[in-house]
Amino acid sequence: MQSKELHIEINEVSGTQNAVIINFSGELCSLCISKISDTFDKIDFNFTSNKFVIAEMSEVTMISSAALGEFMGGRKRLIEKGGELVFAGLNIELRTKLNLMGANKVFRFYNDQRSAISAYKWEYEKHPEHLHLSFPPYLKLVPPIRSLVSRVARQKGYGNRDAFRIETIIDEVCNNAIEHGLEGQNNKIDMKVTIDPGKIEFVVTSISDPEKMYALRALLKPEEDATKWRTDDKRGRGLDLIKMLSNELSVECNEAGTSVHVKKLREE
């Protein structure tokens, strides 16, 4: 049976500084290892800087162990120059085969090109990720929202302790927005989250309730010792907690709305 001919195409990824995609299609049999080797030579020759190379494998139907060996050699050359080689788009059968060969201990696998590029931008170019939520001012919505942001932080590599602190900050900011904002499903709370490998920032904007403004302004006044609770404080002290868990906190408060900006640096 004749094997499907191997085709290889190299493309730079637009909008990135150092990412390259190698599109493979056909069968990566033991007879074609020189083609794979030549491809890595081309990358070595044409691109002097450290390259993040994505091997796009969605059109590949077979990988021989000899071909995998070539990929390992190619990765080693890239790593030595501060680059990386990852796989994207492997079908389940090939992924299973590579796992059995132990390749998952060496290479990172991404479901598709987009995920691989996104990981590159996050890890190498330190691009922030953005999350924008808008929700009615209902307390019952706060637990899933704080949990979502905390999960995003964990998924982005933040540790459990940071993720827990982020969850607490989000919880307190949202609870304050609900407590001091206008009620009703049309008076939505707007939350913008920006996360990068070093920090997470939130801006939470709510529509102020004029009748509750005095209470909010009172909360914003600095106290002599904000860290001390009293046993008759049945109501929480959310703003103090946010101050102590975050690195920066600013509150803009006027008749139209209240905007809370929090910055928290990654600690783990």
Partner: protein, 118 residues
């Protein structure tokens, strides 16, 4: 969707006016009223010495902490106590950084909290 919290009660041998409450889940603004009601019912039934086991309490926020301080104060007013044991690292940090450790009776182990009952 409210956060899930479950309060499981157990007798404490030899202490007729004491109860062990195991907190399971998250304590926050969505369920604090329910917890307040349940614990106040215990007080009204004469259980003035309460031990809260936080081994399975995953999360607490400032509203939840406020209610814990309220339980502590209420128990003392009734001549009893509200003791907390087995607090996880994250929850303890929240209690600690806002200075509530000085206001709550916190024990590392449940046995220590039971032994400290009058």
């Amino acid at each position: 969707m409210e956060s899930q919290i479950e309060l499981l009660y157990e007798d404490i041998p030899g202490k007729s006016n004491a109860r062990l409450i195991r907190f399971v889940g998250d304590l926050d603004a969505t369920n604090v009223e329910t917890v307040l009601e349940k614990v106040c019912t215990l007080f009204s039934e004469g259980f003035i010495n309460l031990i809260a086991d936080f081994k399975k309490l995953r999360y607490v926020n400032s509203t939840g902490l406020g209610i814990l301080l309220h339980f502590s104060k209420s128990a003392k007013e009734k001549g009893g106590s509200f003791k907390i044991a087995n607090v996880n690292e994250n929850v303890y940090e929240i209690i600690e950084i806002i200075g509530a450790t000085a206001l709550l009776e916190i024990y590392d182990e449940l046995d220590e909290a039971v032994a400290a009952l009058r």
